[in-house]
């Protein structure tokens, strides 16, 4: 067996997932290297969100392996997956509506016990998202969609993860906020956090991603560097055909 120079941070090998009798994934193979932004693209019901759930342990695949940081995490309970160093920005943000912004952020550090460093991360997160600082004692539920998205990302950061999984971080945001959120994702990535994001909006995601995968009906149909994907006729047909860009 040859030893690869860099072992991927996250690896999905031949994943088959089922919901009851219905198969959602057909042998999904993908990997995310340390330091990358990788996006998983696909339309509705392509199996994108399920991929996220498989990584986070919310759904157990029937076959295949999820390997994180060299260790198998397939079928591990969600809290244990999180404790291995994966952060999650769930679909539709899912912030704790009746807890304050501060409480929400500190919930992100729930699994940690290093008080001093949590305080450091807290300050750093607020520097990254000054908007949150202005609303620090308000309940999360009263924040605007964009602010909630920042809170969700900030909350994930508070866990000091090596990988953050984001499920459609730009969904339902105004164009202004979309750009801002994408910028912030790049900033976080530049600080050393690996990003794996699921997106429907291919053009936007590929602008900041290093690499991408295209999922269609539960199969990876296309993979490659972001620029290659942007130029590929398939993507052009599927996403850019109507001149959306």
């Amino acid at each position: 067996m040859t030893v690869t120079a860099v072992q991927p941070l996250l690896q999905l090998q031949k994943i088959d997932t089922f919901y009851g009798p219905m198969q959602v994934h057909f042998g999904i193979d993908l990997h995310v290297n340390s330091g990358e932004i990788v996006c998983l693209l696909g339309g509705n019901a392509s199996g994108k969100s399920t991929t996220m759930k498989v990584i986070l342990g919310l759904v157990t695949p029937r076959a295949g392996h999820v390997i994180f940081d060299g260790q198998e995490i397939t079928g591990l309970a969600t809290p244990k997956v999180i404790r291995r160093g994966i952060g999650s920005v769930p679909e539709a943000r899912r912030i704790f509506a009746n807890m304050t912004v501060r409480e929400n952020l500190l919930m992100g550090a729930y699994k940690r016990n290093d008080k001093a460093e949590i305080a450091q991360d807290y300050e750093r997160t607020l520097t990254l998202f000054p908007r949150l600082k202005e609303r620090i004692n308000q309940p999360g539920g009263v924040l605007s969609g964009g602010e909630q998205q920042m809170l969700a990302i900030g909350r994930a950061l508070m866990g000091r993860p090596s990988l953050i999984c984001m499920d459609e971080p730009t969904m339902g945001l105004s164009p202004l906020f979309v750009d801002r959120v994408l910028e912030q994702i790049q900033t976080i990535n530049a600080q050393g956090v690996t990003i794996f994001m699921v997106e429907q909006n291919a053009t936007l995601a590929l602008q900041i991603a290093h690499r991408g995968y295209v999922l269609q009906n539960g199969r990876i149909v296309l993979a490659g560097a972001a620029q290659t994907l942007l130029d590929s006729p398939e993507i052009q047909d599927a996403y850019l055909g109507d001149g959306e860009a």
Partner: protein
């Protein structure tokens, strides 16, 4: 101070003290509902066990009060964790009614165990506190009142600090708000559930112990009322809302206290149930929520597992009926025939439950109310108006159909487990009205000397006569129901069960079909209740209790939801089995409770499968 004013203040203090107990119970239910989305019916049993543990510590072991509270907290806390293990953890992916029913099974088991250990009789719980009473401006306050108030306030403050400033408190709140998101923060929600159950059980146990001190008595059946009142208080404040529950508890205590002062002590339990129904119907989210709709339910009321029901060909069913009809020729033992007669009568009730709960998907925990209405209708018609039994029996069925449907009408806008609670409350209201409407029902005394069943002039008093009579009624009831299920009506009911929103989208008027289901169900149940009353020749408000309702639902689950043959098989099994092992008669409810827990856990589709 004028007399009425003093009475008013006394009743206010009374109400606040009792309200404190309700609040403690309600807060526990709110915690559990918050994190586990579960209405914990075993909570009343924990409360009762808390009272018994306190009683043992104080009267048998002569422990000081402070140490007693510690022992109560530890034992009840462990009990709560056990309930979470059995009642919730394994059933998290089932329909939400499943854990609810499991907790009913657990409460049966716990209540029966206490009865076996300490006897069903009330035990006197002498209060170790000094009997001096404080006089403040003509209002007198006892030491126990002060203790209860202090503990109530103290626990309220501790709970607030716990939820606001501790890590596990944060985890509790986060899980209650969004379970999946909490998991994605690394929160182990199973441990959070366990903590919530432990905490709730500690509060419930302490509440039970305090009520034991307050009324100087403990008894096994205190559990059910306590659980339901705690639930009413919780509902009043908003399910899962902790500060709301405290206020709900105090409001309920005050309403009860003023109500008793105005109407009399027998009305005590009525208020809670009326509040329960009124809140469910008018403000399902409690007094403090602006939302008018109850939280959406992902699944309909009953859990119909994917399964292949065991079907018997028509000739098989006819053969079974013939064997049952011929049985008295071969088995003459009157005791055995009497047991089977009970099975046939309960079988009718099981049919009626499987119709609304299994076929139409409206979980009914109030069927005993229908039995009582039927029994009283027929008893009054024969006793007061001297109608012949046959006519009174039929009329009882019709009266129950009409009255029963009207009573359940307000619950039609509810879904899933809210229907179960509403029907439970409605069944309880029927009993309370019977208890208090002296002019019509003779109140506590009940009705005596009911004429025995007759058929075309022949009096049925011998065991085999009653056996045949009840069996034929069961067969007629089954035939009637079978015809309904084969008709388009049966299909419509099943459509409502599977997806009421889709059914509505096809133009089905939900209320009309729910009414038809309850009317048919109440008709059959009413006839069974009427016949049972005349068979006993005596009825009162306790002849048919919520225990009967739950027992019959257990029969239906045992046989398989919506499965008519299953309902009868379930009725026969749960009536005959405890009798077969004669030693088990005392442990009957232990057996019922275990049967319910096991079925829900291992075979939710029932023995014969649900249809």
């Amino acid at each position: 101070m004028p007399h009425f004013l003093r009475t008013f203040f006394d009743q206010t203090i009374n109400g606040l003290v009792i309200g404190n107990i309700y609040a403690l119970t309600a807060v526990g239910l709110a915690l559990i509902f918050g994190v586990g989305n579960l209405i914990n019916f075993a909570h009343g049993s924990v409360y009762m066990i808390g009272a018994y543990v306190g009683w043992v510590c104080v009267t048998q072991l002569h422990m000081p009060l402070v140490a007693t509270f510690g022992v109560v907290a530890v034992i009840c806390g462990l009990l709560g964790m056990g309930i979470e293990r059995i009642g919730l953890r394994r059933l998290q992916n089932s329909a939400r009614i499943a854990p609810l029913l499991a907790t009913i099974g657990i409460s049966f088991v716990l209540d029966q165990l206490v009865q076996i250990i300490f006897s069903p009789n009330p035990q006197s719980f002498p209060n170790p506190l000094p009997t001096t009473r404080l006089q403040i401006g003509g209002v007198s306050i006892g030491m126990t009142d002060l203790l209860i108030a202090a503990i109530g306030i103290g626990i309220g403050i501790i709970l607030f600090l716990f939820l606001r400033y501790t890590k596990i408190g944060w985890a509790l709140r986060a899980t209650a708000q969004d379970r999946d998101a909490a998991q994605q923060m690394g929160v182990d929600v199973n441990r959070v559930n366990q903590a919530a159950f432990a905490l709730a059980a500690i509060l419930g146990g302490i509440a039970g112990m305090l009520i034991g001190l307050y009324f100087n008595t403990v008894y096994p059946t205190m559990s059910f009322q306590a659980g339901l009142k705690g639930f009413a208080a919780n509902l009043l404040g908003g399910l899962g809302n902790i500060p709301g529950s405290i206020i709900g508890g105090l409001v309920l205590g005050l309403v009860e206290s003023y109500g008793v002062a105005l109407f009399g002590a027998t009305y005590r339990n009525l208020f809670a149930f009326v509040i329960l129904i009124a809140v469910l119907v008018i403000r399902p989210n409690g007094l403090f929520s602006r939302k008018r709709q109850a939280p959406p339910e992902p699944l309909t009321g009953t859990f119909i597992a994917n399964n292949k029901p065991i079907t018997l060909p028509v000739w098989g069913v006819i053969a079974l009926a013939v064997i049952a009809l011929l049985l008295p020729f071969f088995v003459g033992d009157p005791y055995f025939l009497q047991i089977l007669t009970n099975a046939w009568l309960l079988g009718m009730v099981a049919l009626s439950v499987t119709l609304v709960t299994g076929t139409a998907g409206q979980t009914s925990l109030g069927q005993a109310g229908f039995l009582a209405i039927g029994a009283y209708a027929s008893a009054l018609l024969t006793l007061r108006l001297h109608w012949p039994f046959e006519l009174a029996l039929l009329a009882a069925g019709l009266i129950t159909a009409i009255l029963g449907t009207l009573l359940v009408l307000p619950a039609f806008r509810l879904r899933a487990h809210y229907v179960a609670i509403a029907t439970l409350g409605i069944g309880e209201i029927v009993n309370q009205v019977i208890l208090n409407w002296n002019g019509l029902t003779n109140g506590v005394m009940g009705l005596t000397n009911l004429p025995p069943p007759t058929f075309l002039g022949v009096v049925a008093v011998l065991p085999h006569q009653i056996y045949w009579y009840s069996l034929i009624l069961l067969l007629l009831g089954a035939l009637f129901q079978w015809q309904l299920l084969r008709s388009p009506l049966g299909r419509t009911w099943r459509a409502i069960r599977e997806d009421d929103i889709a059914a509505q989208a096809y133009g089905i008027n939900l209320n009309r079909y729910k009414a038809l289901a309850f009317a048919a169900s109440a008709f059959i149940a009413g006839i069974s209740g009427a016949f049972t009353g005349h068979m006993y020749t005596y009825i009162n408000h306790e002849t048919f209790t919520n225990t009967t309702s739950i027992l019959v639902l257990t029969m239906v689950i045992l046989g398989g939801m919506g499965n008519m043959l299953g309902a009868v098989v379930g009725a026969v099994a749960l009536t005959v089995l405890p009798e077969l092992f004669r030693g088990m008669a005392d442990y009957r409810y232990l057996f019922y409770g275990l049967a319910l827990i096991m079925m829900i856990r291992y075979r939710p589709q029932g023995l014969l499968g649900s249809i």
